[in-house]
Structure formats: structure tokens, C-alpha cells
Symmetry: C2
């Protein structure tokens, strides 16, 4: 089947190709009646302008890029990215933008992808995830002047705009809640060290514990997998002064921690309270259901997409603060049992 071109539409409408282009793009230069007729014909013969031709003649590629740098098993098990993508897509689809996805092995590969996309003019802009301290991607994107929105922060984004959520505040709220329940020995199983949001949470945890006069604010670093979450939990629960509450940096580790507690004969929440960051449906599937820090991730993605599209059209945008995660208490937290 032959793809219809703008010339086919022009011929059938009895106008020039230029007129068709104006009509399609909502530009002045054609009468309203002609525009209607052209649009009707285009729809009738199933015409969509060639994205290549459009991109080549100076218009935009109508595509944005997302490079993800996580191994397959972590990517699969964390609902975060798919929920984010769903939200991004909603916003993009409304403007007929495509999302180009690439899974990369490391930061060098990711930077190479950005350079290639830029050279190929394949995307009009990109999202940056998993921001790091001194992130090497930032200066590259600044140099290329490729529109970009950082999903994360605050700060450490160079001159790039960002969409972020106040993790420090959410963590403080959580610790204060646990302390209000009567907990004094609170520990944390953290995400990958080096990621900005991990560091922000770690610092906030240390500060709030210090402020509230809690003994030692232990953060055990981990990598978001269930295995590591389980191992970290065993270590914490085997110590002489074991914690009565643990905060996990994602839901999968929290579920693994719950299993470990049960396997070690500790009652949840009687002997151990558990809080999960990222409130996915998984948290409500286990027994007891997990108290969790949640927020609307698809909406977060939608905001990021909206800002990226604005940046592409040349609007001057800066940092946007998304909602702060809120705590939903469920069965996994309670006052510590007196021993």
C-alpha cells in the first residue's frame, strides 16, 4: 500500500502543497473553508505527514528521549519507571509526540546516546533520571544545548530545569511519626549510594535523628533488590541493639524485610515496624499491609513531560516542585512492644 503524501492531498483538493501544509499546521494563509476541505481529504485518504520530511525541513522531530540506566531485573521489579512512563505518555500523546526509549548499561553509554540522538536530530529533548552528585550528564547536555528536564533534585541540575519532590520533608515526617509512636531506635535501608535522592534522604535522616535525640541513625546502603534488602535487614535485626522500626527506600526491599522479620520470629508490627518508600499496590498485597510513603508517580511524569515540551518550544522554565510524598499508615507500624 502506497503511503499518501502531501502532494496527493493537494491534488485532490485542487490546491498547492503549501496550502495543504498551512491548513494542516493551523497557520494563516488558507481560508477556513479550504482548510476544512483539506483536512477532510487528509483524513479520508489517511494522510499523516512524514515525520522525517517534517523534521528535515526545520520543524521538530516530534519525539523526546528517555534513557534508563538500570539492569533488567531492577527495571522490571520497580513499578516506578512504568508508572512514570505512563504519565509521560499521556502528556506526549496529547501533542502527538513520540517517546523514544533506550536502556543503557552505564553513564558513559547514556552520554553517548545523548550525543547520538543530538547528532541524528532524533529527539527534540530528553528526560534525565537518577540524578547523581556531580552528574556528568549535566555539562554534556548544557554543551549540546539539547532541551532537557531533570526528574529529581532539588539542586545539582546545573542550568537545566527540573521537576522534583521534597524527599527530605517526607523522611522527616516519617521519623517524627515513628517517634510519636514511641520508637527510639529507628534504622533505614537506603537505595543506591551516589544517587542524589539517596544522599538527600540519608542526610535528612541523620539530621532529624540528631534533632530528636535518637541514638545513632543507621543507614545501611543497598541496591533496591529484594536480596539486598533482605541481607541489610538481617544485619540490622542481628545487632545487639536492634532497631524497632526500619524505613526502606523502596517497596520491594520493604517486602523482603518483612519476610526476614517473620523468618527471624519477630512480629510485625509488634517487634518491628516497617515503612516503605514508594507506595505501589504491592504494599497492600502482603500481611500485614505496609505503611508507605506514596505520591502520584504518573502525575510526576506528566509534569516532567509538560515542562520538557515547554522547554522545547523555547519557554524559560526552571525548577518545579511536585507534591511531597505522604505517609499512609497501615498495619506494619505500631508502638513498639515494651520489652
Amino acid at each position: 500500500m502506497k503511503r499518501p503524501t502531501i502532494a496527493d492531498v493537494a491534488r485532490r483538493a485542487g490546491v498547492s502543497k503549501g496550502a495543504v501544509s498551512y491548513a494542516l499546521n493551523g497557520q494563516p494563509g488558507v481560508s477556513e473553508a479550504t482548510r476544512r476541505r483539506i483536512l477532510a481529504i487528509a483524513a479520508e485518504i489517511g494522510f499523516s505527514p512524514s515525520s522525517a520530511a517534517r523534521a528535515l525541513s526545520g520543524a521538530t522531530a516530534k519525539a523526546v528521549g528517555l534513557a534508563l540506566c538500570r539492569p533488567a531485573r531492577i527495571l522490571g521489579i520497580e513499578p516506578f519507571f512504568m508508572e512514570l512512563i505512563s504519565g509521560v505518555e499521556g502528556e506526549l500523546a496529547a501533542r502527538s509526540y513520540a517517546l523514544t526509549l533506550q536502556v543503557v548499561a552505564d553513564q558513559d553509554a547514556e552520554i553517548a546516546v545523548y550525543r547520538r540522538w543530538w547528532g541524528e536530530r532524533r529527539v527534540d529533548g530528553v528526560f534525565i533520571c537518577d540524578l547523581r552528585l556531580d552528574d556528568r550528564r549535566i555539562p554534556v547536555l548544557e554543551e549540546l544545548q539539547l532541551p532537557a528536564v531533570v526528574i529529581g533534585g532539588p539542586g545539582h541540575t546545573g542550568s537545566l530545569p527540573s521537576v522534583w519532590s521534597d524527599d527530605a520533608a517526607a523522611l522527616v515526617e516519617t521519623v517524627e511519626y515513628l517517634v510519636a509512636l514511641g520508637h527510639r531506635r529507628v534504622a533505614r535501608v537506603g537505595g543506591l549510594p551516589g544517587l542524589l535522592h539517596t544522599e538527600i534522604r540519608t542526610r535528612a535522616f541523620a539530621e532529624v535523628c540528631d534533632r530528636l535525640g535518637l541514638p545513632e541513625a543507621t543507614t545501611v546502603p543497598s541496591d533496591y533488590t529484594g536480596e539486598e534488602g533482605a541481607r541489610a535487614t538481617r544485619r540490622l535485626l542481628s545487632s545487639a541493639q536492634r532497631p524497632t522500626a526500619v524505613i526502606y527506600d523502596n517497596d520491594v526491599m520493604a517486602i523482603a524485610g518483612l519476610s526476614v522479620a517473620q523468618e527471624m520470629g519477630l512480629a510485625v508490627p509488634g517487634d518491628l515496624s516497617i515503612v516503605a518508600w514508594d507506595d505501589s499496590p504491592l504494599c497492600q498485597l502482603v500481611h500485614p499491609p505496609l505503611t508507605a510513603l506514596g505520591r502520584d508517580i504518573p502525575a510526576y511524569g506528566a509534569h516532567a513531560a509538560r515542562h520538557l515540551l515547554a522547554a522545547i518550544t523555547g519557554e524559560q522554565i526552571s525548577a518545579f516542585q511536585d507534591e511531597t510524598a505522604h505517609l499512609t499508615p497501615r498495619g506494619s507500624t505500631a508502638p513498639p512492644r515494651v520489652r
Copy 2:
């Protein structure tokens, strides 16, 4: 920063644009020495050919499309798609193909996306997931002659090639295993009705139960969510002749079923054995760990990608049978406790 074009490379190399094109694409027409020099210069100034220009001049778009038709919360919670995408990406990246992802609301929207992609020449081919009986997407893709690979089957793919796994065989193996353990009342919580693989499993379940002389092979339809899995489980466990073993069509429903059993005071596996289809890391996070039917999903995606790329280059390909899921027995299955 200005993007380098083929003309920049040609100028610096002192050759024509045509020569640069030949050198870049490994075509004859330039000497080996010249080719090397051109490639070195291209690398030096960071030149990547414009994908738009390339696509416009008759070459391929160097992109394939994947449209996903599931709501955000299901998309997020099922590791399947992200694992599939990871595998697809590995194969695509090796050939510098991009993956264009689109989340759609329903089949009509999905079909519209295919027509648009085709008209825009945005992709060279597409993957089709979640095959249905009498799938309306098949004739559209045949009509458009857009290269496509169906991820699913066997059969019901019209003239399109497919990559599939023998779900019927896996289900039979599972039921036979449960019967060998001594189970007689086996039930199943199925996936979305209408999806081909759901129907294949349902039919295989009915047949094997009949062959082995088991009483009534009940399949309760569901939708892959934990809530529905829990509800279906409550219904099954509340019946007079409750099953002693349940097979779930995904891991999330199985985990929900485990919670329901515990909430109803039934021991797993003593009173109830549980088998999950899709052996994600989640299955090992719960207590007891779930016996599961698993296979290598990233590899499945890689095979699909390899076949799609072959179809795009015009190779004649047909159906490819991937490995059959195999059962990994864990703590959630055992002989039924005598009552």
C-alpha cells in the same frame, strides 16, 4: 552548538558528500584508506547522520514501535513488560535501532497509532502484544504491509510472523505435578478473558483436568490486579468443596491469594498449595516463597526483536517457538493435608 552535517565531513576530508555516505554505510565506492580517514574525521567532529534525512532519502527510519494497551497501575506492577523491553533493547541497540513506545487506551487507539506511524514513516516495524482471539490489529497491519512480529500465539496471527511459548504444555506440567502431590481439587485464577494466552491456558486446564479425572476444573476470570486476585481467591476458598491447590495467571495475583489464605486462617502449603505464573523476584520475597512457572523474558524480547529486524530487511520468517516455562517448586506447594 551547531550539528555537523555530511558536508562538514566531506569538506574536511576533501571528498564529495557521496563518498562520505558510501564510507559511512560500508558501501563500495571508496578506497579502504579513504574510508578510514572519513570515519576518523566523522568520529572526531562527532558526526551522526540525521535520522530524518536518512529516512527521507529512502533508507529506513531505524526505529521500531511498541504500543502497550494496559492501564498505568497494571503496567507498573507487572515486571513482564519492562523485562521484555530490556531484552528488546539489547538487540536493537546492537544495530542502532531506536524503540518508540506508546501507551494506548484501547485497541482502536492502538490501531490508530499504527496507521499514524505508518503514514509518518516513523517506524520500520512494530511488535504486537496481548494477542486476542479475532484480533482486529492483524488485518490492519497486513493491509498496511508494515513489518510486524506478534509476541504470542501459537496461531491466530494471520500471515504475520510470531514468537511464542507453549503455555498449554506448561499448564499441563503444572497440573500433573499437583496431582502427583496428591491434589484432586485444583482451581485456577485466570488472566483477562479474551486474551489468546488466557484462552489457551483455560482450554488446556479443562482438558488436562478431564483427562486426569479431576472433578470440575474451575477457572475464575480476573484482570491481573491484586484486588481481583484476592477477590477470586476468597470466592474459591469460601466454596463448600474448596480447592487444595490454585494456579494463578500472574505473580501479583498469587501473592494476593497467599495473603487471603493467611487471612482466612488457611496454612500454605498445608491447607492450600499455590502456583504463580511468571516467576519474578517477587515470588521469592513472600513467605513461603512461591512455586512458580518461569522463563527468560528478556530473552523472549530479544528473540522478538531479532525476528522483527529480519522481517524489516525482507527476510521470510514465520513462527518461532521460544522455550516453554518451567516449574520451580518452592515452599508454596506440598501434598494436601488429609482432612
